[in-house]
Symmetry: C2
Subunit: 419 residues, 2 copies
């Protein structure tokens, strides 16, 4: 019999210290979003293969772990040359959310504020810090077409991050916000055709990586007209941090950019800014694109000042649920980089993943009589009733090593009972 | 495009009220076992197909959801007529625990007290209350060959159940305990052959369902000698509740039952009984078998008085980890019927799955000016900081219906902001 001791490629076993940290972060996320009225829901990890391969999932559809048909159905599939899979593991939480909402919306408050935390699966090539099973954490507001959705998503997430990172003295965050319709308007205004906007934005998305010159090179290589490219990039070439929406959009034709889009964005900033904690700011970010093509309105990201990656990102996607279910539902969501948060906390922390103070281990020698054991158990019971972590276990032959491993988990009090 | 709104057959979408109850129960389980020194761990949902089909999983191996190979590997498997699957979804938490321990034991305290809570998958025929994805909750003590393991497992679980069920005024539980070696000894003593003991115990396990006469019929049908069967069943025919270990075992030949087995069991009862909460008792249960063939020592179950099913069950399985990993590790575990606990709480409860008291909804009319919205957000921020659940959302056209759905979740305060 072949027995494989390591976990499946790209997936992790969680040690007790990992779990304590993850559970701690999960519980803070639940508490924070709970106070903002987000309600936790859960969908099965296994999803219909038809839904997973409906072309809404982009490149993730190439990374599906497929689940095989069973019994007679598998036999028939093999004989008839049909697909062997009837199910697959979800690659994100958004597709299952669309299905969930289509299935359950009569029973849910409207607008519905959802919090999802769960594992997703991608048959990616595992790299450092990139796994084939990982935890996603999404909040979404379904059925709210107004900017109250963005205001709630952003203030809730900023508050959650502030609370979690206060523990390691990180207090400075920047919320970057833009609108897909402004991005489109700049491109259209420069002379790009409607159908080319998506491709142009894919290039602009690389602003931080390859700079204006890199984008120019790529757009020209993609065969776009040099004058159009120059006109387009001129807008971004001179842009400075802190530019206002009005100043940035001044040159854009109103035909491409209705005034209400600008007003909507500045209203969001106006409402969010005053309730942010000290150290957190919200800025208009004209070069923020966010990869996914399904966004239709405001898009946003949160970065930790001094780190060059985002820790949460999202946007409005008013068409996606309709594409899945056939019924349009306005929607806006925020995806939290749970694994990234855990990694940062782990790097910075001192004792956050150890057992609570006072954790006590009773080590019982093998000659201890029954009556003495019973006494220890009664003492342990009383301590536990007061909330102290107490373990009662046999004393090992190598007690020093045994105590060392217990200390590593956070046990600080050791009672050795010899007889 | 085909879009399927319902979840995959036999799996459930969790509504917010479901999730609140499940999260509440999970957090009480974590807290209770945490105080007893059990450490939460997690293994991937996806497991090597070789491990899942190693013949240790009994009938569950027939119910595996297999995960297909991908890309070139799948192609090769098809061409060569090899298995299409390289992975599968775990059908329990015990097999992954054995793999986990084999892989990580150097980093873990010894004995290691593990708490696992996670989903398992079985391609069973879905029935009422039986699902293809469901949550299991197991505690196990690995590396402790002494009865301190059973004492800790049982007292921790009794304490956890008492705490959870106190909320719905259920306080009376019975812990039933027996030992596989006593069960074997009775059978051997009656004259059954060593190799027949497993089969005889499968019949005895039906005691509560078919009674002594039913067992007799079955054993005779299975071809066992009538006199042996009669001698065997005579022991159980006269057994009464509350029988002591000594009295029950009096007729058993010492050659089949070493004195230390009886002493071990009575020591467990002696140590556990004094620390149990009022309403909870522990009794020797000579007809308790527990299905799984892998148990090697004490076995135990907890029932709620007045209900004819067990809510938790387990036992010692000293050989299983060795069968998997090639290295024997003494082990004893308890599996908690998480889904059953949730179902009972749901049936009995009043408000346990609603939002906490004071949950407040601000409903914002569509003419409300920005400055007024900002005021509401500031008020909401302050309330949230104090831990109150507050949602801010647009007022729906059908506000009565909107409020009704929010009330169903537990919102009690509604602030309507018109302008």
């Amino acid at each position: 019999m072949k027995f494989i001791k390591t976990p499946v490629k790209g997936m992790c076993d969680m040690l007790p210290a990992d779990m304590r940290l993850r559970e701690h972060v999960l519980s803070m996320i639940k508490k924070s979003y709970g106070e903002y009225g987000f309600m936790q829901i859960e969908t099965p990890v296994v999803e219909h293969i038809e839904n997973l391969t409906s072309k809404q999932g982009g490149d993730n559809e190439k990374l599906i772990f497929k689940v095989m048909k069973r019994g007679a159905e598998l036999q028939r599939a093999i004989e008839k040359g049909e697909d062997y899979a009837d199910n697959g593991l979800r690659y994100d939480l958004t597709l299952p959310l669309a299905r969930y909402y289509a299935c359950n919306k009569e029973k849910l408050p409207f607008p519905f504020k959802a919090l999802q935390m769960g594992n997703v699966y991608r048959a990616d090539n595992p790299q450092k810090g990139r796994f084939r099973q990982f935890t996603q954490c999404d909040i979404d507001i379904l059925g709210d077409g107004s900017n109250l959705a963005e205001i709630e998503l952003i203030t809730a997430t900023a508050s959650m991050l502030t609370r979690i990172f206060a523990e390691i003295d990180i207090t400075d965050f920047t919320i970057h916000i833009n609108d897909r319709r402004i991005l489109s308007a700049v491109a259209l205004s420069a002379g790009f055709a409607e159908e080319d906007v998506g491709s142009v934005l894919i290039s602009l998305d690389k602003f931080d990586k390859i700079g204006i010159e890199g984008i120019q090179k790529e757009l020209l290589e993609n065969g776009y007209d040099a004058q159009t490219v120059e006109k387009y990039l001129a807008v971004y070439r001179t842009v400075r941090e802190g530019v206002t929406i009005e100043a940035f959009c001044a040159g854009i034709d109103e035909a491409f950019l209705p005034a209400q889009v600008k007003q909507n964005l500045s209203d969001i900033i106006g409402c969010v800014a005053p309730v942010l904690a000290r150290g957190v700011k919200i800025v208009f970010a004209p070069t923020l694109v966010r990869g996914m093509g399904y966004y239709t309105g405001p898009i946003f990201e949160i970065t930790m000042d001094g780190y060059n990656f985002s820790i949460a990102g999202g946007g409005r996607y008013d068409k996606m649920i309709g594409n899945f279910s056939g019924q349009d539902v306005p929607a806006s969501g925020f995806s939290i980089g749970f694994e990234r948060i855990v990694t940062i906390l782990k790097d910075h922390m001192k004792d956050e993943n150890r057992l609570p103070e006072g954790a006590t281990a009773y080590l019982i020698g093998n000659r201890v009589p029954l009556a003495r054991k019973a006494e220890v158990l009664e003492t342990a019971r009383r301590l536990r009733e007061d909330g102290t972590v107490v373990t009662v276990m046999p004393m090992a032959k190598n007690m020093k090593h045994q105590i060392g491993l217990l200390e590593a988990e956070g046990y600080t009090r050791f009672e050795k009972i010899y007889e």
